[in-house]
Amino acid sequence: MSTTGKIDNPEKLNEIIAGCQNGDNRAFTQLIDAYSTRCYGYFYRLTGNTGVSDDLLSRLFVRLVEKIGSFKGGSFEKWLFTIASNIFNDYLRHEYRQRKLLEAHAEQLAEETPRRRSDDEMADRLQQQIAKLDDDTAELITLRFYGELSFKELSELRGEPIGTTLSKVHRGLRKLRELMGAQDG
């Protein structure tokens, strides 16, 4: 996985975060460089749509500016990907409402609205198979992979027991492998 501009040194990361909390524009640029690739991957794998991913990534970093003052230490990645997850779920709710509204007016129109995970021409094989997983599992797998979160962090983020998280990720990844294998066959 490409992690362009990744900050491996925790002290450096703390310094950048402190800069962001003081409103330093350059510190935000460094943070964007460090995390945009992974956050974009997270959004793309869940939506399968580059336009939507562009929009969600923009929203994430603008919200980061507004929220950075509330970061009180601990795992920055867990904190960042919690915001990313909230943004994605807001997007899902908005799209669900929009679709319901359209369905109420005209079934034909509803069919023309973009699907949450569109198999667009750019989508790779993995994307097509992730789209076949249920929403919850797809989000867990992508959160873990792109957020580089431990199972402990993941279970805390999701507010569920670690055993449940382990089991869901295990089943999800095994299903994904089977789906990829089935496509090969």
């Binding site: 996985m1 490409s2 362009t4 409103g23 524009n25 935000f28 640029t29 964007i32 460089d33 945009s36 690739t37 974009y40 991957g41 793309y44 794998r45 580059t50 991913s53 562009d54 990534l57 923009s58 970093f61 603008v62 500016v65 507004e66 750019m122 790779d124 094989r125 993995l126 994307q127 797998i141 873990r144 992979f145 792109y146 957020g147 580089e148 979160l149 431990s150 199972f151 402990k152 993941l154 670690i162 055993g163 382990l166 089991s167 990720v169 295990h170 999800g172 990844l173 095994r174 994904l176 492998r177 990829m180």
Partner: protein
């Protein structure tokens, strides 16, 4: 990767039998390998430029709001101080201060004049702040509409809504 942070087998052993835990760990690792084989697209340079510019703009608006809040707080202290002075003391003192500070303090037009003056000070501070921001950060000029939008956001701050 995440499994570097923790010992996967040890964790799985807490929930599964040893051979099942080994198998589950292998399933998870091979799933991770699969994810690595298919990297997601990268955000475009245009998108990153756009995000950086949105972040800069958000930061400027927040700075502006802070300035307005500070000026408003100082103005509020002055107004409250004046009112306390006016309402404290005996009738004789009040009359003297009334005459000395503002002959028609409770007259609507006088209050409007004072409000307009405070607004004027706030607008001046905003324009100074915007000028400073341009010089410090080398940010291109706003057009008129953007400037008005910034001012509108700043002036509609909760303080002014009471």
């Amino acid at each position: 990767m995440a499994d570097m942070k923790e010992k996967l087998e040890d964790m799985l052993n807490g929930f599964l039998a040893a051979d099942q835990a080994r198998q589950a760990a292998e399933d998870i690792r091979s799933g991770d390998r699969l994810m690595r084989q298919y990297p997601a697209p990268l955000p475009s340079a245009d998108l990153l430029r756009d995000i950086n510019s949105k972040v800069s703009r958000t930061l400027r608006i927040r700075r502006l709001k802070r300035v307005v809040r500070s000026v408003a707080a100082v103005a509020a202290v002055f107004v409250l101080g004046g009112m306390l002075l006016f309402f404290s003391g005996d009738e004789g003192d009040r009359t003297v201060r009334h005459v000395a500070v503002a002959p028609d303090w409770w007259d609507d037009s006088a209050v409007e004049t004072l409000t307009a003056e405070v607004d004027d000070v706030v607008r001046t501070m905003i324009s100074i702040s915007i000028d400073d921001t341009f010089v410090d950060d080398h940010i291109p000029d706003f057009d008129e509409a953007e400037l008005e939008e910034l001012e509108a956001i700043a002036m509609s701050d909760d303080f002014w809504k009471g």
